[in-house]
Symmetry: C2
Subunit: 164 residues, 2 copies
């Protein structure tokens, strides 16, 4: 499978070979009961998840801090090609509805996420790209710990799916 080139100025990429199957990685990303178990690096938790796997469908999670504060995120799925490609964005609400600028200004940056899964002799080549509006937003996300955070979540994904 061809990979999508990233824009190094504005995007961040986590690329790893994971020792699980393409199908296992796809299930972990697309079944809410599984996603909730790995999506947020501990001690944070994902305490709710709603997915409607079609362009225009909902991609919603609620994250919870160790102190119990909850952070709902509702976005829109943009592309689904099972079991290889999932794209969703926080810049639109379900049904492709724009967000208000007021809402958008409450988050540190707007994000589109592109998840690409391809067969690899050792499991699955896992590419998770965070697509931002500009270099400033990329830098904010990088400084907030993109690589450590998305890496820890991928570790949790592997640990979950290897038990199954």
């Amino acid at each position: 499978m061809d990979v999508t080139p990233i824009d190094p100025q504005c995007d961040l990429l986590l690329e790893r070979v994971l020792p699980i199957s393409v199908d296992a990685a796809w299930r972990a990303w697309t079944e809410p009961a599984l996603l909730m178990q790995w999506f947020t690096p501990a001690p944070w938790k994902t305490v709710a998840c709603e997915l409607d796997l079609r362009p225009g469908g909902v991609f919603a999670t609620v994250m919870q801090s160790p102190e119990g504060e909850q952070f709902p995120n509702t976005g829109c799925i943009l592309a689904v090609s099972a079991p290889h490609l999932l794209i969703w964005t926080g810049a639109l609400l379900p049904g492709f509805r724009p967000r208000t600028n007021t809402e958008s200004a409450t988050v540190p940056f707007l994000l589109t996420a592109r998840i690409e899964l391809a067969p690899h002799p050792e499991g699955v080549r896992y590419r998770a790209t965070a697509i931002h509006a500009d270099a400033a937003a990329r830098t904010v996300h990088e400084t907030m710990g993109f690589h450590a955070g998305w890496g820890a979540a991928a570790d949790q994904l592997v640990a979950l799916m290897m038990q199954r």
Copy 2:
């Protein structure tokens, strides 16, 4: 073909039966050389158009006022199902990239447009839905003349395609 329900609080709908074929209406919306001839109610003009007809592809136009001032709009195509459905948004840039809040704040409202074309005994049932972030944005668009503007553009579309 089923129609997509609109949200009457946030959306605006132009629905008409046009005396041209579904294919003619589809071509008018998807061929830049045609789109430029009808998209903007005269005496405004569309002086440039770039379309890449796939999810994530560009939907860009440049409108020109009677005084010659140019207004570029670059958005992203979200859904393409020829010759029945086209969805694009100004809330994302090509490649599903979020816009910066600063950019989004320069327009009076963000818009997703859904164009639905269905066969009708008298031609094509043409549904153009303007999807907004909230009721306030809908009201701004309505006050700016959505119905007159999109209606005049549809008249121009018909006049163009009936000559062909």
